[in-house]
């Protein structure tokens, strides 16, 4: 790669200047990142298949709506900064796309830090907080991979109750359930009974023992129906499930991290990065809260708005487009 960069040095230099100008617009170009941008664009321009673009990245996504939406948000934000982007959405499960990012066929994919760590990178990790999980990721990721800044937005397990229950018992965090849990049925997927962050975790972390456990599905139609129906009074629901908006549910805060952090985080192929890309994605993540993501998920899943409309709306509202 080094010799190729030298051979096409002229083009690389031009590309570097262009990039430096763009980076200057976004007002933070460090010397180390601009040199990495030069090598990235250099290798790009020497590749006859790259179409001679200055910088080109491939954004992938897993096969579920929220992930495709996040990939679209990243793609539009980068396009607004003049980065050439192509997308490969709806790829499949992590086992399929992860090796592709490791090889560089995909340069950016929206991930969730907790699952990324325990499913792909370090299965034995017990890190729970956002900081611990990100530190573990930084230490254990293969050399070609990197995670950028985590967004505050989390798509994690949560103990969720109806708005009516929350109002009646003044519930804000899982800890507030202490006086009430003994009279509540808890709905969750069957494995919650034996999972370390399941029944046992809630007892160890918050001292909660529920009246009964009702095995249902993974934050799916049965769990949500049981919660509405009053068959269960609390349930394990993912924090960005659109029904939280439409059915008026309240996800209780988890201040003691019974559930591991699941912040949205871009997993990237290091050699394809440059300062513009990194700064742009970090700026997007800084504005991406769970509430914002939940509203976007609701628009896409419940109201059937297109990914690009919803993504554009978010970026415009946050001044990122």
């Amino acid at each position: 790669m080094r010799t190729r960069t030298a051979a096409t040095g002229g083009m690389a230099a031009i590309a570097a200047i262009t990039l430096a100008a763009v980076a200057a617009c976004s007002s933070s170009a460090s010397s180390s990142s601009s040199s990495s941008s030069a090598s990235a664009s250099g290798s790009g321009s020497s590749n006859p298949l790259s179409g001679g673009s200055s910088t080109s990245v491939v954004i992938g996504s897993a096969n579920f709506p929220e992930n495709e939406l996040l990939a679209t948000v990243y793609a539009q934000a980068l396009q607004a900064k003049g980065v050439k982007v192509s997308t490969k959405l709806n790829i499949g499960a992590r086992e399929v796309y992860y090796p592709q990012v490791e090889k560089g066929t995909i340069s950016i994919i929206p991930e969730y830090n907790g699952t990324l760590l325990t499913v792909e990178v370090d299965k034995t990790s017990t890190a729970k907080t956002t900081a611990d999980v990100d530190a573990a990721l930084a230490a254990k990721l293969p050399s070609t991979l990197q995670v950028l800044n985590p967004a505050p937005a989390q798509d994690s397990d949560s103990i969720t109750v109806t708005q009516a229950t929350a109002n009646k018992d003044h519930l804000k965090s899982i800890a507030d359930l202490k006086p009430y849990a003994a009279n509540m049925a808890l709905g969750a997927p069957p494995e919650f009974k034996t999972r370390s962050d399941g029944i046992a975790g809630l007892k160890a972390t918050y001292g909660l023992t529920f009246k009964s456990f009702v095995p249902l599905d993974e934050s799916g139609p049965l769990t949500l129906a049981a919660l509405q129906d009053g068959k269960v009074q609390a349930a394990d629901v993912f924090t960005t499930t659109p029904q939280i908006v439409t059915d008026k549910l309240v996800s209780l805060a988890d201040p003691k991290f019974n559930f591991a952090a699941q912040n949205v985080i871009p997993l990237v192929y290091k050699p394809a990065m440059n300062a513009t890309i990194i700064n742009t994605l970090n700026a997007v993540d800084a504005k991406l809260t769970t509430e914002a993501l939940l509203q976007m998920d609701n628009a896409v899943i419940t109201e059937h708005a297109s990914y690009s409309t919803v993504a554009a709306g978010f970026l415009q509202a946050e001044g990122l487009s």
Partner: protein
């Protein structure tokens, strides 16, 4: 390890036979989820089958509806009802009743409609009322087929009542679904084995039942035809 060694190890672990949610409790719960739907299906399908078999009216329509009815996915119906009806007794009862009706209905109809016309004629000639023709002649002759229908439905229901576990209820499906969810193969294989054992017991029960209730003459006739 094979399916059977997984299943055997789990079934023979004595801890699985004691306490709450143990094997005996779930077998009882499972039978509970089977008996009610079968009773209801029989109460609907046997009279309906007799009426259309005796009169011959609407036979093509009812049989076709009953057959196409078999295409309704039981699990899909269960989840649909859970979402739109909530979690009442109907949520699990209705899909199993829907599953159990067609075999009983069709076999009863075939049995009654297939009674030898000479026999029917004789019954009428003796001055029997319609009610007597049905209860004294046609239904007893149709009984072997009615039992076949009941047996088929019973096996369907025993095997399918596992879906009650999908909506948080008990029964042998609990072992299968929980085992799958937590990647434990023992309860999955063991639960499936117990369902098979229950189904075989149901077969045996119906063999005994048909010996007890089918008239001796009919059985002799059937045997003579076989030989």
């Amino acid at each position: 390890m094979s399916f059977f060694s997984y299943a055997w190890d789990w079934v023979t672990t004595s801890a699985n036979w004691h306490g709450s949610d143990s094997i005996p409790q779930q077998i009882l719960a499972h039978l509970g989820y089977c008996i009610l739907p079968l009773l209801i299906a029989a109460l609907i399908a046997i009279p309906a089958g007799v009426v259309i078999g005796h009169t011959g009216r609407g036979a093509a329509f009812v049989v076709n509806v009953a057959n196409s009815w078999r295409a309704i996915p039981t699990l899909g119906l269960l989840i649909l009802l859970a979402v739109y009806l909530g979690f009442s007794i109907l949520t699990w009862l209705l899909p199993l009743v829907v599953l159990a009706i067609p075999p009983i209905l069709i076999n009863t109809y075939e049995g009654v409609a297939g009674v030898d016309p000479d026999v029917k004629d004789a019954a009428r000639g003796m001055g029997m009322t319609s009610w007597k023709q049905v209860t004294r002649v046609e239904l007893p002759i149709a009984l072997p087929l009615v039992l076949v229908g009941l047996r088929t439905s019973a096996i369907f229901v025993v095997a399918t009542a596992t879906i009650a576990a999908y909506i948080g209820l008990g029964g042998l499906g609990r072992f299968i679904i929980d085992g799958l969810a937590s990647n434990e193969y023992g309860p999955v294989a063991g639960g499936a084995l117990l369902v098979v054992v229950l189904a075989v017991l149901v077969l045996a029960l119906f063999a005994v039942l048909s010996r007890l209730v089918v008239p001796v003459g009919l059985r002799r006739q059937a045997k003579a035809q076989q030989d």
